[in-house]
């Protein structure tokens, strides 16, 4: 028995040694890399992003330029869109997280309140670089990264939701293009005229056949979010002091009703059709005449018809509002190279501001500079820049995902998918939303 045990042990050791021979190359190459780094004294800064193949390639070009210009850092990207949120959360909870990472506004608000991202308030104040000048940023874009007067990250994009229209379909029907006088009524009017059945009749016609629609004026499936319309009517879904959800105010209820009516109207395809044919695909395939999308969606460059980009229609009382979708970057609070990471962070943020539409900086929101950076979107830029003035973000707080879960599953999902009546649901859901806000306040 003893002999057998010895045999077994020696076998295991033998196999380990054999495998060690195979793995030697990795060992030497990684130690060589370390020596190279030491020679040039560049710190490796790991960046985690959700970029897919194409975006990652463009990002790599930017990183190569930054790395060649710096003798302090070497940014290495780790881009993988699959399950990004869960992965980054687990990585940051452990000790093997990246130094820099892209983060959505919602996650940023969560992380900022839990000390996951490095507090950069002091560093920003002491830096001379223009990108570190906080007053140059739109307040909307900074708010997810702030927690109790400290800043934990910087946004690299704030894209407002704008109105994309199919100019060819507008021309065919004789509807005039949107202008600054467009409000909800004018918008609905245009949508009706642009909804056409198989006999060529539009939705404002008495003999309109809503069972056989071939072209719809607009499309809605939960996007654009109802908050845009609530804001345009002067209401809000979370109060400014985070104490309650005023979804039962007359302004908010009217906006919900507008939204629900629009979802159920003949001007918008049924949810079934939208799911089957694809939400934005229907716009690209010219089955839908108007589409509200993010400015960075760049639909005007991706379609083969004449596509115009305009500001959203304003509310019934003339209020202009749109959603500003904010994405940004943070530094891992556990990073071992905070100073170098911060410099890399600033340079990269600046570089991305030149890359994406729209940068969240007021100094860059002028038409000439943007036209130089993005000549392919020259016609769209004015509307986008105008939208930045009144773009808002959701009121993120520590337990926002809990609030959003109830808002989506108990209120919005039934309105969109089950023809629910907002005036019946709102009184039921408001106490649940208020309860979450109260819990978070404790």
């Amino acid at each position: 028995m003893k002999k057998r045990l010895e045999l077994l042990l020696s076998l295991i050791l033998l196999i380990s040694i054999m495998i060690s021979g195979c793995a030697t190359q990795d060992k030497t190459s990684s130690s060589q890399k370390n020596e190279a780094d030491e020679a040039t004294q560049k710190v490796t800064i790991r960046l985690s992003t959700w970029a897919g193949a194409d975006e990652a390639k463009e990002l790599q070009a930017i990183l190569d330029k930054l790395n060649s210009q710096s003798n302090e850092y070497e940014i290495v990207q780790d881009s993988n869109p699959a399950d990004y949120d869960t992965r980054i959360t687990t990585q940051l909870a452990g000790s093997s997280g990246p130094d820099l990472f892209w983060v959505s506004a919602q996650r940023a608000a969560q992380f900022a309140s839990k000390n996951v991202m490095l507090d950069i308030t002091q560093r920003l104040a002491q830096s001379n670089k223009p990108v570190a000048n906080i007053s140059d940023y739109y307040e909307t874009s900074l708010s997810p990264f702030k927690y109790k007067d400290s800043i934990y990250g910087l946004p690299w994009i704030e894209q407002p939701v704008v109105l994309y229209i199919n100019k060819d379909l507008f021309d065919k029907t004789g509807v005039s293009y949107p202008d600054s006088s467009w409000n909800w009524d004018k918008f609905l009017d245009a949508a009706k005229k642009l909804t056409i059945d198989k006999n060529g009749k539009n939705a404002s016609d008495a003999s309109f056949d809503k069972e056989n629609v071939t072209q719809w004026g607009f499309t809605l499936n939960g996007w654009p979010p109802v908050q845009i319309f609530v804001w345009q009517n002067g209401g809000d879904v979370i109060s400014e002091d985070f104490s309650n959800s005023p979804i039962d105010s007359p302004e908010a209820e009217a906006a919900f009703k507008f939204y629900a009516d629009l979802v159920n109207s003949p001007m918008v395809p049924s949810q079934q059709i939208i799911k089957d044919r694809g939400f934005d695909t229907m716009f690209k395939n010219q089955q839908v005449a108007m589409f509200m999308g993010g400015a960075a969606d760049s639909l005007d460059t991706k379609v083969d018809f004449k596509c115009g980009v305009y500001e959203l229609p304003c509310g019934p009382t003339g209020i202009k509002a749109t959603l500003g979708d904010v994405l940004g970057m943070g530094i891992n609070a556990k990073t071992k190279n905070a100073d170098v990471a911060f410099e890399a962070f600033l340079d990269l943020t600046d570089a991305i501001h030149q890359w994406k539409v729209m940068p969240p900086r007021k100094s860059m929101a002028n038409i000439d500079m943007m036209k130089k950076l993005h000549p392919d979107r020259a016609d769209a830029l004015q509307a986008i820049i105008n939208s930045m003035e009144y773009a808002r973000t959701y009121r993120y707080f520590e337990n926002y995902p809990d609030w959003d879960n109830i808002f989506s599953t108990q209120l919005m999902d039934p309105i969109i998918n089950s023809h629910a009546d907002p005036s019946v649901l709102i009184p039921k859901v408001k106490p649940q939303l208020d309860a979450i806000l109260k819990k978070a306040a404790k």
């Binding site: 130690s31 000390n115 799911k275 809990d402 108990q410 999902d413």
Partner: protein, 329 residues
């Protein structure tokens, strides 16, 4: 400057440490008087034990502890006692519908799975030409990963261009009903998932039943035939009792698996008006909302449900499960 411990060195440490533990365990056990055979046995399974303790037992106990805390993965857990459980059972609007949905799903999909795979196994339990090929083909579903299958089902269930509605269309026209929006209409979500669970009929379940069927002695059938038993009588009075331990295994494993449905639900993303399965709640509470304590509590409630149901099934076994050599009382 940190000492650079490369990945290979870290890899080598593991087997060395495990072997060291095994040897030390052996010496320790011998010292306290264990016989050589037993000491060797325990020492040799110690690597597995170490893995089990680190990756299964410890997380199990830790998650039970976490269910009584408020923990967001960042910072340390804060003890809050039964608050999570109270919140779930009293204040959480999604919790009870989730239990209901999960139990309903198991209640339908397990019998369908067991009966279906038994029938399939009966069909494959013949000595006809090419039966090997058929068995291989019918085992293929077990090889395909869950995520790919879920995407395929999402495509099949597409209400306008999916295959399922295409086949059903003539029938629906006769009844005068429109094409169901399988994942968009809350009424159709549970039926859709139960149809998808049909997938579970093939693959491993059928193979297990096949093995069980082939263990039934031929002589029993021959005797029954002499006595003039019908096909149904042979099936009900010989086959079923003989393979009842296998049926028990399939029912229990099927139920445990059905109650933990996750991958398919996450990929297919049905309308949330239909409710969410319990494991979906665990994922959402844990990773999206960063309430790890609450997520652990949901997971432990699920465990309690599975445990209770499994006990119930075991309690019922004297009535219908016959082990070899037993006689009906």
């Amino acid at each position: 400057m940190e000492r650079f411990i490369g990945p290979f060195e870290r890899w080598l440490i593991t087997p060395v440490v495990l072997i060291a533990i095994a040897i030390m365990l052996y010496k320790l056990l011998r010292k306290i008087g264990w016989r050589q055979r037993q000491a060797t046995g325990l020492a040799l399974i110690s690597p597995w034990l170490v893995g089990f303790i680190i990756f299964t037992a410890f997380p199990l106990i830790y998650s039970f502890y976490l269910s009584f805390t408020d923990y967001s993965l960042f910072g340390s857990p804060k003890w809050i006692g039964l608050s999570n459980y109270i919140y779930l059972f009293v204040n959480d609007i999604e919790f009870w519908p989730s239990i209901r949905l999960t139990l309903l799903y198991a209640a339908f999909s397990v019998p369908i799975g067991v009966i279906g795979s038994l029938l399939m196994a009966l069909l494959l339990n013949r000595q006809i030409k090419g039966i090997g090929i058929y068995r291989t083909i019918y085992y293929l579903p077990a090889v395909i990963p869950d995520a790919a299958v879920a995407l395929l089902w999402r495509w099949l269930f597409n209400s306008e261009s999916g295959l399922l509605n295409y086949i059903l269309a003539p029938l629906l026209d006769i009844i005068g009903v429109g094409k169901p929006d399988w994942f968009g209409d809350p009424r159709f979500v549970l039926p859709a998932f139960i149809i998808m669970s049909v997938w579970g009929i093939f693959g491993t379940n059928t193979v297990v039943f096949l093995a069980g069927l082939q263990g039934v002695p031929r002589s029993l059938y021959e005797v029954a035939e002499i006595d003039g038993a019908s096909v149904w009588a042979k099936f009900w009075h010989i086959t079923v009792p003989q393979i009842s331990p296998v049926i028990l295994l399939q029912v229990i494993m099927g139920m445990i698996g059905a109650l933990q449905i996750f991958t398919v639900a996450m990929f297919v993303r049905p309308t949330s008006a239909a409710g969410k399965f319990m494991n979906q709640l665990v994922y959402e509470r844990g990773f999206t909302q960063l309430h790890m304590g609450e997520a652990s509590a949901v997971a432990w409630v699920l465990f309690a449900i599975i445990f209770a149901l499994t006990l119930l099934i075991f309690r019922s076994t004297p009535a219908w499960v016959y082990y070899e050599g037993e006689v009906k009382r």
